[in-house]
């Protein structure tokens, strides 16, 4: 069914959260990474509103596909396959992409690959960035080595994976048991009267703060947590702790040391994320760590990750930021990998699965 298995031209559709992502790749070469975000529409609510995100996907899909094929310089009929995120994510948002991808596949008579969003984040690292490469971003063309530990952090997910093979063997080591790390940034930003999205705001304010000023708790890091939650994350206790600190200051009529709170909160998040990721590297004897997800834009996270992996002799990989946030190129990249590995396409009956397990790489 797929005619070109060596260098397939794949269009990827990603609608799992608030970014409408259309990506086009040829094998491991990135041709377009078109993203339309509804982030601004969510700002006044302080977080992603699923219905607003889903409505925006419907409005943005056709313009985004047109923009992507124009940038890639291809015609839709040139494609070898369509790839689409079928989960995990917001179900109403996922369904827009799934319906559209199936229609496109039938209209073009092309095979379709329904793929896992989280594994897509790992797949992003395989792309050669022939476009959108800036000097400040790592543009590492060396192939991804296996096994690798992957830490995927965004407003929708916080997951630690052991990737033995991108297309056949991905294991979930741990994930958040309450809020995603990105949500914690948004909620703490609101506590500090900072706008949405919280990540860049906390980063900005924290620049003038002391990360050691306040010792906020690290979730699930006690010895008693190590049996059941060794690689899991929890951020709700941290958020409550920040709220309590702010309220105490306000009740006492004292000013809230916003910069110190932001820096100390950020330090707690970064510390627990990397402590657990590096523990996984050590426990499994894997000297490689890959970062992905929108929270990777956080400068402190990248800085501490570089420091700690250097110290531990672990190779760190961070795809360019445009490929870290949710995007269609990573979905196309994963689709292309599945094709190059000889996988058969998905059948047309698949649905959107908001809780798709990470070991289901293709549905």
């Amino acid at each position: 069914m797929v005619t070109n298995r060596t260098d397939p031209l794949v269009l990827g559709i990603e609608t799992s959260c608030d970014e409408t992502g259309i990506g086009i790749v040829r094998g491991t070469t990135l041709l377009s990474n078109t993203i339309a975000s509804s982030m601004d529409e969510h700002a006044r609510y302080g977080g992603v509103v699923p219905e607003i995100a889903a409505r925006a996907h419907l409005d943005e899909l056709v313009p985004a596909i047109n923009a992507a094929i124009a940038e890639a310089g291809i015609r839709l009929h040139d494609l070898d396959a369509i790839a689409v995120t079928c989960g995990p994510g917001l179900s109403g948002a996922l369904m827009v992409g799934v319906g559209a991808a199936k229609a496109l596949a039938v209209a073009l008579d092309k095979p379709i690959y329904a793929v896992n969003h989280l594994v897509g984040h790992v797949g992003a690292d395989l792309l050669h960035h022939s476009i959108h490469t800036s000097r400040t971003e790592t543009s590492d063309a060396a192939p991804l080595e296996y096994p690798t530990i992957a830490l995927l952090v965004s407003g929708g997910h916080t997951s630690l994976l052991l990737v033995r093979d991108l297309v056949s063997d991905v294991e979930l080591l741990g994930e958040t048991i309450d809020d995603a790390a990105g949500e914690a940034f948004d909620k703490v930003a609101r506590l500090l009267s900072l706008p949405y999205p919280g990540g860049p705001q906390i980063d900005r304010v924290a620049a003038d703060g002391n990360p050691k000023a306040i010792r906020f708790p690290r979730g699930l890091s006690q010895p008693k947590d190590m049996a059941a939650h060794r690689y899991d994350f929890s951020f709700s206790g941290l958020k409550t702790s920040v709220a309590r600190f702010v309220e105490q200051r306000q009740d006492a009529g004292e000013p809230v040391p916003t910069a110190d709170v932001a820096a100390s909160f950020r330090e707690a998040v970064v510390d627990i994320l990397l402590t657990k990721a590096l523990a996984a590297c050590a426990d499994y004897g894997v000297p490689r760590l890959l970062l992905g997800g929108g929270v990777i834009a956080n400068q402190r996270l990248r800085h501490i990750a570089t420091e700690r992996t250097d110290a531990a002799g672990i190779a760190l990989r961070i795809p360019p930021l445009s490929l870290c946030t949710d995007n269609g190129a990573m979905i196309a990249a994963l689709g292309a990998q599945l094709i190059m590995a000889g996988r058969e396409p998905s059948t047309l009956e698949f649905g959107a699965d908001s809780t798709l397990p990470v070991d289901q790489i293709q549905v």
């Binding site: 419907l58 596909i65 319906g99 991808a101 039938v106 209209a107 073009l108």
Partner: protein, 211 residues
């Protein structure tokens, strides 16, 4: 020939032709499986009608009104199929298809079409008659209401015959498009008829955690 897709109630897909009528049609009343079955239905209808996407003259999309999550699947499919096939999208109001079907089966005169909007609300449209070519004449535009509002004797269309529909036939949707095209009638706007704002509440700031 036109491909028609509607997910404003269940899922319905059809291939229709002005002279031959409904050539192929697939329907499923289940309102929870739009994303799963829309693709297979499109493929099956095209195969049964033995037509390639490139040979179609357009793609008809049912614009609702309908509950958002399901409605969007069909509109996304219709828009993107049209893009992929390089054919125009023809938007049609889903209630018009229900009314058209009813008139076609012999009804005459006024008619109120009602569909489920969930959350104890309903969508309605009012039609005075079918015109000379058989197209329903909508005189009350698609609205959202509590059931009691339509039962109120003071309501404008209270005494009109009413049809409560659980499904929309894509075949009828496609035929409305064929007739509208043949008789130079305007199509609907390419805009989903949600008729309801996204439910979000602006918070009054963070809740206090300490006692």
């Amino acid at each position: 020939m036109l491909l028609a897709i509607d997910t404003s109630a269940g899922t319905s897909v059809a291939v229709v032709d002005f002279t031959r009528g409904v050539i192929a049609e697939r329907g499923e009343a289940d309102t929870m499986r739009h994303a799963e079955i829309v693709g297979p239905f499109i493929l099956e209808c095209l195969r049964e009608a033995d037509i390639a996407p490139a040979a179609l003259s357009g793609v008809v999309g049912g614009m609702g009104p309908g509950p958002f999550t399901g409605l969007r699947v069909g509109i996304a499919s219709a828009r993107v199929f049209a893009l992929g096939a390089g054919k125009p999208l023809v938007p049609v109001i889903s209630h018009d298809a229900i009314a058209y079907g009813h008139y076609r089966r012999g009804h005459s005169g006024p008619l109120v079409v009602v569909t489920d909007a969930r959350r104890r609300e309903i969508y309605w449209s009012a039609y005075s008659q079918a015109d000379a070519v058989g197209l329903p004449v909508r005189v009350g535009s698609p609205g959202l209401a509590k059931p009691a509002e339509l039962d109120d004797p003071a309501w404008l269309h209270a005494l009109w015959p009413r049809i409560d529909a659980a499904t929309v036939a894509a075949g009828d949707l496609g035929l409305v498009a064929e007739l509208s095209f043949a008789h130079h009638r305007p199509f609907a706007a390419n805009v989903p008829l949600y008729l309801r704002s996204p439910d979000v509440t602006l918070s009054n700031g963070p809740k206090r955690v300490s006692r």
